[in-house]
Symmetry: C2
Subunit: 795 residues, 2 copies
């Protein structure tokens, strides 16, 4: 026990408004401290609440508590508050009996149900995307209409400061609503949700991330934050929304609403749920970017331990339906029913192949732009990292968070206004202009202020203008200043307690400097007509900047190509993204990875660190392990489960346990299973009376899923404590095992490939010697000085 | 032993021109019969030659032998001639020592080497594609030029039969050369090579499939068969070529050429090689279709047990380089250097978004076309299946195969000629016609024969014409007759002893009936201008037909979209491919799967059959298992290895083996490792004298890889037989194990996810009770009447 306990380097007191996690899962043995630290405002993957027992306050801990605002939060820690998903089926007798009873036809029905669920997921995700889009458009339109009228009124008579105040107040009001619901109701809905979904697909059970409440807060949060004019996009949150929809639909019930449709009961386990959530995430990507293939790739990249063809097809189906639904309803909304031209929330507009061919000698330029994107992306991430640390330390109260969000909204409005005001970049207003709100301001009649088009617009429209407006629309100085201002605004905005994504701001920053790059090029080599189109460089710049910030890989390439709608750009986009990734990785990690690390999530990467071959299972495992006998006393079991100093979730079951020595392994049982058994009082002594009683079925386990009651809520009388429980029927009789000499990379590979939660370590006689869980593997990582070990902590 | 031997249902005598497989790998124990059956002409995944011992000729076998031409070949068999790849690293002490010695920098170097290799793979694959393209174009051009001159000469004066003969003879001559090199030199180069690569990526060691000789024969074979006017494409073989290039480059040597560059020695094992081969296959797809992302998906779909991000990136890199190389060299060849407009061998031409938008009400039409494609595809596969059975029985001699190929070539020419001759579909020759060889024939001046454009062209050009020629170019009757004729020609052609792919013929058939469909639609609803463009329907038809025949999934969608160069079509193509797959799967399997089954390859699908939960490891495993002690007598080892009645490849190593009872498992050693140990005489007794000798290193194993010598070639003296061998250092001390109660799906999942070759089955005391290998798992499949078991056979 001590071998892990000593690794708990610090813990701080936080609020525990979050709901109580009923199970103290995770196989490590850790001494709980009653003080913990709220996860910070930025990336609330649920707040931990452990058992509140005042015990063993060491002087050091006391010292920490005395300075609650300067907690040494850093990314060299691994939080113990995250559990793993049970992706590995517990193939106990009940399960096998059910599977064996099922006919070929029965499996066919299940398969059809899976398809139906995926269709529903796609449909609902598309519908949500459609609603968000329409509401945001109308709200933002109303706001810009008001402000524009006001500005026009005051331009002549003076007193534009009133317009500024109006704008700032409108923005702040919207953002305040968005921030309040996030900060006070559901902090896990903050941000884009992509890091949380990445963690979920990786196999980490992030508390409350796929709840209905989260979805509602997310949807309203994103509407208000985008309408509030923040430097955010509505695309990232769609991925989270899709995942929640999937988790809800696939279970055929809502625990929050206390409504059980008695459907899809077969799918009530982590294995199936995670598969559906990957379909939901894909549907979200698909709706956000009109990129069904990109969505599938995103899900597979993040979630696939194992490529399953049927699953891939279903994910693909959900993605297609989602994109189609969005397209269909938006076409009706735009009064062009049947014209399927907007498959995603973001629309890059049409790139015609004629205008935008590229030539061989442009490739080095693309590579330079990729490198630039990587550099700027790394800068973005580093700045945001520092800001996040600052926020974790000082801005962790909900009201502070709301105030910060409002401040950012007001500053965004002020900066925008100032830039519009001081820029005198007037452009002629052509007959076929596509600006929705051309602001004349101080320009002469028939002209409009070009800086205003960049700020006085939803970011999506600004991106499109940068891609497609004809050469000469933008003044280079305007673009430069805009890039600079928007870059810092976006850095500041990401991590606020609002639901918002970073895709669109990244694209906008990149498009701005990309277009600037293109304009400068055409100055240098004015003779070449091929340089003439700065829209092409805006696209490449957008890809470079986005790649530099988020560092997604194959999926991002496909998403960009699909969103562009033209394969011609495939090769340059790939090249740029690859360069941006290589350059960016040299300086800093991707934005999502930064935030995952800051939350100390036990995230399993693709492979164990290269230089970890000298570690074996014996070194990484947790031991000693609490085991149960096949037939064990109820009292013993209750005591072990109630023991707050150990928070095991999986218990090896052994044949003969004499004294301290662990016995021969014969199975593995989960805490959740034991709790259901205790709840139903499945004791050997009651077996005779059970003849009348119905036998415990898999259904009982499914009904309790996923919120198993805590052990404290189960009453066991003193008599019952003396009864015996026979675990044989309920334990998984064939858990995966490794010998204790197995090297860490080998253990890692097995664990990751099969999505395990517990891996039993045995010796040559099949005796249990230890247990490997996610945290034991995630804590080794490759640092600057070779292999490093993260400390485990109750963050 | 008997439990497997009885499953050998039949065997026939075949020629064993193929080289001797040195190792009788596979863990099953099988009595070898000296008769075996040549794999047939169609899908020569290497010929087996086992040990020739005349033994136990049962009456039934005698009966079979007496009718060598009517062997009951069917797909309900599983061949024992295929070995598995050792995708699981043998983490023995030597390996671990090497890994531990290696610094962080060392791993970095390895990573860079991997990237360099992938770059080389891409470059060489692109270069090969480029060469094939240029040579085919010139050869075919020359042929058509000759025939056209001849036809024009004889049109006026009569005697067109001479032209026909000239055409037929030219075709046959080309095809003869192509067929001879395939049938006599390297039968494994026949066909498209995609089934073989699928098997290889699945983990089956297909003999001689990634050899240099195969590549050479493949390249020349495809050139001659395409130039010979067969209904074939040059795209499929590119995938095989890419894989061979990858296998060669990554090993840094050629065993055939006896040339060792002493490079990349670290990669000389199956794990690394298979990863590179998947990059090569992706590069091949990329070069063939200009579809880098599609290539990556193809490789991942077929080969990924496990999605590894770095591997995905490298595959992607190889694909990009390959497409770029092809594009670059072709642009130089076409005298437009730097204009990167032909990223693949097949070029669908440019689809402009304006012309080819689709509308909501067209979607049901697309679905109908998808269903039609599925039906026609299933018909194609069923016809080809019967034809293949016929060929296996009657056309298995190389000279017969060559004659058949020549016959097909002559018939193709005759049919083409007849259709051109009898069609009087004259079309005006516009000023901007893009027919390279417009045949006037009996048309009046200024007109040309439109049927001739379909036949008098390489299939790629015909596809492009069908996609892009303006409405009215083709007469519906012409198209109908063409579809019919080409369909049967293509069915007949696939499976000939020539190197050729089925992609282009499928696309051509589909494009023809798709265009016909479009023309008919415009007749029905002549008012709607949107129906006007039959090129759109040609594209959809092509996708439907291809999907119906090959049934690839996500990758095919992406390939089609990338080849089209326009994302607008993404959704309809997905829809059509999905419909085609669902409809087609109802009637018959995909073409590649049909051929894989006919070759009885132990191919592991995605999952174990649904209804196999009632089977456990105990039932599926092979037992008893031949085990070795940690320190065992050389004589015993040599005897076991030489014993032709057992052909184990992996041997569990046990601690105490007293008598018959197997002991406690402590490791696993491979036949190949034992052979290297015997060759180097690593005996305990020689340990003292070894002080001067150098210690056996991993390098010695790598040098012997992949063609380990047969046991017969190793001389062990009588004295040496009494020596002892200590296996501790060389065995894999941590093989994966399962308890004997594990259900088949669970065993399957572990086996498939980690790409295993041997899985040791143990009891509760860690005693070895059996061994599961690929054939034990592949033999269960879901038939029409529930779970079926395939018979194992020496096919």
């Amino acid at each position: 026990m001590a071998n892990i306990a000593k690794k708990v380097s610090w813990s701080g007191r936080g609020d525990d408004r979050g709901e109580r996690t009923p199970l103290m899962n995770g196989a490590e043995e850790v001494k709980y401290n009653n003080r913990q630290f709220s996860g910070g405002s930025i990336f609330h993957i649920g707040r931990l609440s452990t058992v509140d027992l005042e015990e063993e306050i060491t002087p050091e801990e006391d010292f920490v508590r005395s300075r609650p605002k300067e907690i040494p939060h850093n990314e060299k820690l691994l939080s113990l508050k995250y559990e793993s998903l049970d992706y590995d089926n517990s193939e106990n007798q009940l399960f096998l009996e059910e599977e064996r009873r099922m006919s070929h036809m029965g499996f066919g029905c299940l398969e059809i149900k899976r398809w139906v669920i995926c269709g529903l997921i796609g449909f609902l995700t598309g519908l949500i995307a459609c609603c968000i889009d329409i509401v945001v458009e109308n709200l933002a339109g109303f706001k810009y209409f008001l402000v524009k009228q006001n500005i026009e009124k005051f331009t002549e008579v003076g007193g534009l400061s009133i317009s500024l105040i109006l704008w700032a107040v409108l923005n702040s009001a919207f953002v305040m609503v968005g921030a309040i619901i996030v900060a006070f109701i559901e902090p896990v809905a903050a941000g884009s949700g992509i890091p949380q979904i990445k963690c979920y697909l990786n196999g980490v059970k992030v508390p409350r991330v796929v709840r209905l409440k989260t979805l509602v807060v997310k949807v309203f949060g994103v509407i208000f934050s985008v309408a509030g004019g923040l430097a955010v996009g509505k695309e990232g949150p769609m991925i989270h929304s899709g995942a929640v929809v999937a988790a809800g639909v696939s279970q055929g019930r809502s625990t929050s609403l206390k409504k059980d449709f008695k459907m899809f009961e077969y799918f009530r386990r982590d294995t199936e749920k995670r598969d559906f959530v990957s379909a939901g995430a894909a549907a979200g990507v698909s709706a956000a970017f009109g990129a069904p293939v990109g969505g599938v790739l995103f899900s597979l990249e993040e979630g696939a331990s194992f490529w399953n063809q049927m699953l891939t097809w279903r994910i693909f189906f959900a993605s297609m339906i989602s994109s189609f639904t969005l397209n269909f309803f938006l076409s009706i909304y735009h009064k062009k029913p049947g014209e399927l031209s907007s498959p995603g929330l973001i629309n890059f507009g049409r790139f015609d192949s004629d205008i935008v061919e590229y030539n061989l000698y442009e490739i080095p330029l693309f590579i330079i732009m990729g490198a630039l994107g990587g550099l700027l992306g790394a800068l973005f991430n580093v700045l945001n990292y520092w800001l996040t640390i600052f926020r974790i330390r000082y801005v962790h109260r909900p009201c502070l968070q709301v105030m910060e969000a409002m401040l950012v909204a007001a500053v965004t409005a002020t900066v925008s206004f100032a830039m519009i005001y001081f820029s005198n970049d007037c452009q002629p207003l052509g007959p076929d202009h596509n600006e929705e709100y051309p602001l004349q301001l101080f320009c002469s009649d028939g002209e409009y202020n070009s800086m205003a088009t960049a700020f006085f617009n939803t970011p999506e429209r600004s991106v499109r203008s940068l891609f497609h407006n004809p050469p000469g629309t933008y003044n280079p100085v305007t673009l430069g200043v805009f890039t600079l201002a928007y870059f810092f605004l976006a850095v500041w905005t990401y991590g606020l307690a609002v639901s918002a994504g970073v895709f669109i701001p990244s694209l906008l920053i990149g498009a701005a400097w990309g277009r600037l790059f293109g304009i400068l090029l055409s100055f240098i080599a004015s003779s070449q007509s091929i340089w003439a189109d700065p829209g092409k460089y805006a696209l490449i710049g957008a890809a470079a900047q986005l790649g530099g910030i988020v560092r997604m890989t194959l999926s991002l390439t496909v998403i960009m190509v699909e969103a562009t709608g033209n394969v011609t750009y495939g090769f340059p986009i790939m090249l740029v993204l690859m360069t941006a990734k290589i350059v960016g990785d040299y300086f800093a990690e991707g934005l999502y990875d930064v935030h995952i690390k800051l939350q100390s999530v036990p995230f399993l990467h693709w492979e164990a660190p290269h230089t970890s071959h000298w570690l074996t299972a014996r070194e990484v495992m947790s031991s000693p392990v609490t085991c149960f006998n096949q037939v064990d006393k109820v009292g013993t079991i209750v005591d072990v489960l109630s023991d707050t100093s150990t928070n095991h979730n999986g218990f090896p079951v052994v044949v003969h346990s004499t004294g301290d020595e662990p016995g021969k392994l014969c199975g593995l049982i989960l805490r959740s299973q034991l709790i259901v058994l205790l709840k139903h009082k499945v004791f050997v002594e009651r077996a005779s009376s059970r003849l009348t009683q119905r036998k415990l079925q898999l259904k009982d386990f499914r009904d309790a899923y996923p919120r198993f009651p805590p052990i404290q809520s189960i009453h066991v009388s003193q008599d019952e404590r003396e009864c015996m429980m026979d675990l044989t029927e309920f334990m998984n009789p064939t858990p995966y095992t490794v010998p204790q000499e197995t090297s860490l990379p080998r253990v890692f590979k097995l664990f990751r490939a099969l999505g395990l939660r517990h891996l039993v370590v045995i010796d040559g006689d099949n005796m249990v010697v230890g247990l490997v869980s996610r945290k034991d593997l995630a804590r080794y990582h490759l640092g600057k000085h070779g292999l490093e070990e993260l400390h485990l902590a109750q963050t």
